[in-house]
Each structure stands twice: as structure tokens, then as C-alpha cells.
Symmetry: C3
Subunit: 296 residues, 3 copies
């Protein structure tokens, strides 16, 4: 399969993946050993968590990851097309995870080879595996998902936020609060959002949230002064419920004040760590899908 | 052994490697498990297929590849010599595959460690493993090699072309047609070529070929207008035999017109995929050579 | 544990590591198989030997190494903190080896995860694993350590030299001769050195040494003419004892004259090769420490 957007996974696939990830986290299931599986990691744009996290997940499952982080052009040669690069990688792998500097292309991959969007760029950019990790973090709450108030703070057009919002439309919490700048809002998306009962609010509204998901805002996207108004400060944290939890797809640049970072409600490192289980579970899902197909 | 040029392999070694590669392709032989083998991948110049392909081949054989893609100098230190870099890598590996920005140096590697030229640069540049992959592709034809007409289009001085021509002098097809610019021809090489019955021709001569091997021409090597005359166009393809096959060492930049790329005679992706089997077979050949030496 | 400086290891730990490394070198012990161990290699500054050497050591022990060599910022985003990067890597690994462009930070790593300084930068920079490799090389002498005269030539403030000197204060040879420029000397360090009976001398004093450890001097640190006076020349080598041995943490740029490099007393490549055994032994030490902790 090609996992380009979160909507390429069915609801019950997602529930299986998150359930199995929880089994891994609890040590309730022994990971299978996919010693024959080769996972190609094609990371053509900066990545730490996704690259390292998939490499580790493959290792924990007994498989092998192979990695290319560069597709350098040189003085006498332009780059080949991204389709060629991905297609060649598919020829050498059972699963390819790709991080791209451009929109994920339409490609015809080799039969039986799975292709995962590890984060692309462009107006419809997505980061579907991060969304799975984020939903996993929300589901670790002691409250059921449909009783949770989730605030998303920052630029909702960023890939992690886009994929998470798409996922939350299918697995809706009680309320979604979007805290963003009008300069960062896309009219069409807003229409879709309002249909999905996304409420827009200001920074103080995060005080009502069970989860605050800090997206971040790219430098220069809005004036610095406005940008800093979306920062999670010590003062805000002091007024926040002791049960509230702060998440982030990371990296965290300056959207959380450095003095606020050591607060125990900051759970983004836990969220990052748990990403290992989600990635293991996703790989298991794909390998088993291949085995089912071969069994037919 | 050191595999710097294709002539470092004997004829019967080459035939064994290509035969075993075909066994792998057909699934007719179970790959051995070289779980103790460490292959060092020292890629100091851009590479996708060779780097990824060897990493995958090692994984398919149960071995481990380790990779260094950078040998950065910094502000207070120049680079060490390429000999030191390769020699150090040999100390940590059973086989080293190196892609270099310079001519492959004379080095004394550790006893029992094999060193493979994964593509170097310079007036005598070679890419011997690509030549094996190319000959493997030619041998997949339904016709025997000595009945094939093979056209090579582009800059014959490029490393893949140089190694392939050296190999075809030893395993000659019926005819070799060279389609290139006089500005790209080396007098000494031409003399050797004519001794080897290489015929020089124009772009229309490719219509007589069973295989068209698109080498490419570096940007700026000849004027753009002349350079584009060596492009495989839709029109040319329309006049080409339905049985003809187009190969390329890739990357493909613009030497094949984008509209022509989806034609089913374009077999360069198949050629790239099959490279996995050739690389597996080469590694098996080298590991078994080491075992034989130790047995003495 | 966190191995940031050589002083994070106890004397008997060091002796165990070097003893086991010698067992590996002699083939006197079969390496354990740590098939479940994942070692994260976070190399954010140039490295060949340390990166490749740890990757190989992990492979020889049956484990898996995963690697990130880049933490690129881009136009719209600064880098996250080095603490976050290391902490995230710890979440995906059992052991993390990090090479940094900055001082190794204070970080709280995950319980049970070991963190190794693979070379950092700054006024207190260290390279503790290189120091272990260097002491291993000294101990391969036919003379006992406390009868050896060891000369260190170059900038004693460089990380490999700093860690080696710290180690030699604890495992003292008979004499330590420091050959350096007064412009490269740190007053405080010199005081500590003199307490440790380090003697300062000139280039001719290396003729008294059993081991000459060529540290190198960064370009531009002192005037070129003075810098070249610390070079090991053919003339000096001609006057040196036939039993003397020249070591280096490498890379070697120009501190050893190229004509002098093929002399059989040059043992730095042997030293580099043996580094594999030291790294294997260190990893074994850490994995066994984790197992002991879990057993409690």
C-alpha cells in the first residue's frame, strides 16, 4: 500500500495499529521477528525522530533498515526525478519510508512494496505516521477520547497538524480548539474545519484543554511579536489544570518557554519515546498485509 | 582482492557471478546467510543505486553494512588522504565498497579484506559493478549475446560506459554501435575501440539495435543544441523495433524524453532492480573467496 | 551511565575493558551476541574512525546500530536544543554514542540508556573512547607501562590529548614528555600537568621516547613556520630508536612527513584497527552493566 495521507488507512487498521502499539508499550506482546524485512529510509529532508524512530522500530523487529539521506546533484548533473529515486529505492526494499522536500509524487511502486510518507512539503503536506503517534498519546489519557478537550496551537497548515486534524475528524474528541493567527488560516480549510466543529479561540482558551498540542509557527510566517503571543509561558502554565498534558510533534524551537519545559505536564518526550511502539506496530501491520496478499 | 576495474575479474569469475545472480532472480537458489560479514560502504560522492543497492544486497544475505557518507574537512583541519580513509575503513570491514570523487588510489588493504570500486572519477574512471549489472541486463535477452546489436549513446568516457565497453571487449556482442560527439572522443580510446570493432554512427543508427544503452552527457560538455540531439525522443521510439530494449545506468536526467519514458521498452528500472541480484552474487563470490583462502 | 569524560570510568572498569579488548584481539574469547541491542550513533560533527568503528563494533557483537549524521536547520526553523536531540535518540536506543560540535550537555537520559561522548568541542573537550584506544596501544608494548617514556607532540588542548593525559595521570608511564608551543599552553592545565610530573621539552626530546603520540596542531593556531617545526620528519626518524613506536588518534594531515609514513614504526593504522576491539569491549561492559542493574 501507499500511506501518503492518513486517509489511506481505514479506521479499523488505525485501531489495530494503536492497539498493538499499546501492547508493545506494556510489554504485553513479544514483537515478531521480521528478519527478512528490508526497510529503505529515503530521507531527503531534515529529520531526527522519524528517521531514527523508524530505524529503531525496524531493529526492534529484527529487520534491517538501509538509509540514503542525500540525492546530491553536482556541477555537471541535475537530480533525477523524485519518482525515479523512490522507484529505485522500492526495488531494493520491502517498505520505503520517505521524507521529502516536495509534495509526495504519484508513483507506481513495485508490487508488494509499501511506501510511507514520512513527511512531505507543499500546500497539501502530510505527516501521517506522526498523526498516529499523536493519537496514541491522546489515547493514553485516563479519560476516553470523546470526553477530551484538545487545543492545537500554532500554524494548522503544517504537515503534522494537517494530518492530526484529518485523523481527529475521524476519531473526534469532545472539542477541538484551534489557536492560530488569522494570517495563517486557509479559507477552504476553515470551512471544512467548521463543518467538523473545530472552534477557533485565543491563547487563554487553552486553559480549558486536557491536551495542548504545540504545533509551532515557522519563523517569518507572521510578525515576531504576534508569533511570540502563541508561546506557552510559565504564567499560562501556572493557571493550567494540573491534569493537563502538553504534546508536540517536535522539534521545539521557542514555542514553549524554556523555563516551562521542565514542568511534569510536558509529555512530548514521552510522546516521542512512544512513537517507537507506533512505528513498530505500523511495520508489523504492513508486513502482515504483504503476507496475507501472498497467501491469496 | 581489489576490484578497481572490470579487468580485475577473470572471465570465469564474471560468468559465475552473472549465473548466480540469475539463480537469485529466478528464486532458484536460497541466498547463503553471511551473518558474520561486515561490509563498509564509503560513499564520498553522490550515489543512490550503488549505495542503496549494496546495502540491500548485504541485508538480503544476512550481513551488516556500515556506512560513512562524509569525510568533511573543517575550518581548522584539511582532509586526511583518501588512502588513510580507505585503509581505516578496511580495518573495520570484511568488504569495502567505495565511491570516490577522485581516481581510486593505490592502497595496501588489510589481508583478507576486499575493496570494490563503486565508481571513481578521473581520466581512467571506472564503475565495474555497474558493468556487471549492464551485462546481466544484456544477457536477459532471448537472443544470445553474440547475436545482439548494442548501441551506446552519449559520452563514452563516463565511468559506467568505460567499464561496460571494457567488459564488452571480453564478452563481445555481434556489433557495438557508438553514438557520440566527436568533441567527446579520446583519440587513444578510439584506436582501441576500432581494434575492438566498435562502429561509430549517428542517432538514427540506434534503430538497428537490440539494446540502446543511454549513457547521458554531462551538462556543458558540448553545446546544449548538440547535446539534445543525442536524446531519445518519442519520434525515434516510434520507429524503433518493438523488441528493442532501452537501458541506462541511471540517473536519467533529460537524455530520454519524458513522454518516451513510459514506453514498455524502457527497461532501466528492471535493470536497476536486477542490480540487487548481481551485487548479492558479487558479495557471495568475495566471501567465498575469503573462505577458500582461509582454508588453505 | 554517561561516559562524558574518561574520569566517568573507574580504574577497574578501564582495566576490564582493556583486558577484554586484548582477548578479542587475540581471538581468545568469542564475542557475545547482543542481538537485541540497538546503538544510536548521533554524529553531528565530522568523524570517520569513531563513527565507522562503533558501527563495526556493534555489528561484530550481533547488535544493530542506527545513525543520524545531520540535524539540519532550515530557512524557517532553527535547530532544536542539543539536549532534545540527544534525549530523543536515547528514547530509541540502548546506548547512544554522540559526536558534537559543542560541549557535551548536561542531560537526563532515559533510565538504563547509556550515553557516550564520542568527541565533543569546547574548552573542556574530551574524547574518552579514543583515550582507551590509545592506552590499549601503549599496553601492547613489550615493556610494562610504568617503564615507558611517552612523548605527546602537538596541541595538548585537543580532545584526544586531553582525555589521554587525564587517563595517563591515573595509569602513569615512567615519563610523559610534552612537546608543544607555549602559545598553545593553558596556565591552569600546566599547573596540573607539573603536579602530574609532565615534562615539557622540544622536538629533539622525542628521541628518548618509546612512544611518540602525534596529536597534530590545528591550522592557524600558531604561525605556519612554528607549526611545521612540530612535524615528524625523515631526519628525526633516522635518529629514533628502532624500537620506538609512533601513534596518532588520526586523521593525520601533515604532522608526519609523507616520506616518513611508510616506516614500520608508524603504528597508527594498527592502533586504529585495534580500536575495534576496545569499542566492542566497551559496549560489552555497558550491556552487562545494564543486565546487572535489571537483575537487582
Amino acid at each position: 500500500m501507499q500511506l501518503k495521507t492518513i486517509d489511506d488507512l481505514r479506521d479499523d487498521d488505525i485501531l489495530w495499529i494503536l492497539g498493538q502499539a499499546e501492547n508493545y508499550r506494556l510489554g504485553a506482546t513479544v514483537p515478531p521477528k521480521f528478519t527478512e524485512t528490508v526497510v529503505g529510509l529515503v530521507f531527503l529532508d531534515a529529520s531526527l525522530r522519524t528517521h531514527f524512530g523508524f530505524a529503531s522500530a525496524v531493529a526492534r523487529l529484527g529487520g534491517t533498515s538501509i538509509s540514503v539521506a542525500d540525492r546530491r546533484a553536482n556541477d555537471v548533473s541535475a537530480c533525477e526525478s523524485i519518482q525515479d529515486t523512490l522507484r529505485v529505492a522500492c526495488g531494493y526494499s520491502d517498505i520505503v519510508v520517505a521524507r521529502l522536500k516536495e509534495p509526495f509524487p504519484l508513483i507506481e511502486s513495485n508490487p508488494g512494496v509499501h511506501l510511507i510518507n514520512g513527511g512531505d512539503r507543499g500546500p497539501r503536506q502530510e505527516h501521517p505516521t506522526q498523526a498516529l503517534i499523536d493519537l496514541f498519546a491522546l489515547r493514553r489519557s485516563s479519560k476516553p477520547l470523546d470526553e477530551l478537550v484538545v487545543a492545537l496551537v500554532g500554524d494548522l497548515r503544517m504537515r503534522a497538524a494537517r494530518s492530526l486534524l484529518a485523523l481527529l475528524r475521524r476519531f473526534p474528541p469532545k472539542r477541538i480548539l484551534a489557536v492560530t493567527s488569522s494570517a495563517l488560516m486557509d479559507a477552504a480549510e476553515c470551512a471544512a474545519d467548521s463543518a467538523a466543529n473545530i472552534e477557533y479561540g485565543g491563547m487563554l482558551d487553552v486553559l480549558e484543554a486536557d491536551f495542548i498540542y504545540m504545533i509551532g509557527i515557522p519563523n517569518g510566517a507572521i510578525p515576531d511579536e504576534e508569533r511570540s503571543s502563541f508561546r506557552l509561558t510559565r504564567e499560562l502554565l501556572n493557571r493550567l489544570s494540573p491534569e493537563a498534558i502538553v504534546l508536540s510533534p517536535m522539534p521545539i524551537i521557542d514555542e514553549i518557554h524554556s523555563e516551562a519545559r521542565r514542568d511534569r505536564r510536558m509529555q512530548f518526550l514521552q510522546q516521542s519515546d512512544d512513537g517507537l511502539y507506533v512505528r513498530m506496530s505500523l511495520i508489523e501491520f504492513l508486513v502482515k498485509a504483504s503476507n496475507r496478499d501472498e497467501g491469496r
